[in-house]
Symmetry: C2
Amino acid sequence: MDRASVFNQYLRTKGLKNTRQRMIILETFLASASHYSTEELYQVLRTDHPRIGYATVHRTLKLFAECGIATELNFGDGQARFEPLYTDHHHDHLVCTRCGKIIEFIEPRIEQLQREVAQRYDFTVDSHRHELYGRCINCSQ
Amino acid sequence: MDRASVFNQYLRTKGLKNTRQRMIILETFLASASHYSTEELYQVLRTDHPRIGYATVHRTLKLFAECGIATELNFGDGQARFEPLYTDHHHDHLVCTRCGKIIEFIEPRIEQLQREVAQRYDFTVDSHRHELYGRCINCSQ
DNA sequence: TAGCTTTTGAAACTCAATTTCATTAGCGTG
DNA sequence: CACGCTAATGAAATTGAGTTTCAAAAGCTA
């Protein structure tokens, strides 16, 4: 089932409504280069849909996270960011502190070690954050 | 060189002043169980030093981070937290989302894999964040 | 289509972080 | 030690992302 269907089904089961704004935001969000903050997505939407309000964008992104088609990220710049979630391959992030570029990486051995660590402390992990900050190849001199 | 000396030397080289407030905040911060938010440290200080203002606590914690004796953490609860930095053993965190308990863990094999990942993308790492969120042993049913 | 419920969007509000600014306090020099 | 300069302090104001409010508009179900 694709992410649009997941979202629509989530709306239906929760008794929420399938509105024009939500569909436009969903479409734009899924089509976009990911890692948008609310403000950034709002600015992108303004071009073609100037009547859609910031609060609606914000609430809709929260809904995406709730229903599992997006994850909320925070890279320490004081703005929450969202990315479409691909359930079939978990990844973490390299964040360039100069140009803002975000690189996704997959490293199953790290995931495995995380499970080991959690077990060591009798800890039940629900989620994790793992980001490396520094310079991407273009920004290192 | 201990952390108090590092801070004092930092003040001197930057032409900043060694004030009563800064010394009190430093002492309380180093003596404390770590991972204080600004607000929490401010509340602790209020007991014995009610004249020290919130802004001063905030500015002083930022100074600690600047001079390298503390690191700024963010566990997604909307408040920055600070912990005294021990340069001799880097660690990451397990964060209990129910009781707020914070467990520090060390796993050199994860550090090593991080270096591998960075190399894979020609990325120069300056810092990283790695936190596992879930339930500690007391909070899992 | 009616009637009920949710959504929208503008504006207001929240809350931590940060800045402002007049007063106070370090600190180097004479 | 006092002078004078500079930085620090603390109360209050400001910022900015996030969230809530509320009257009007729109979706949904019968």
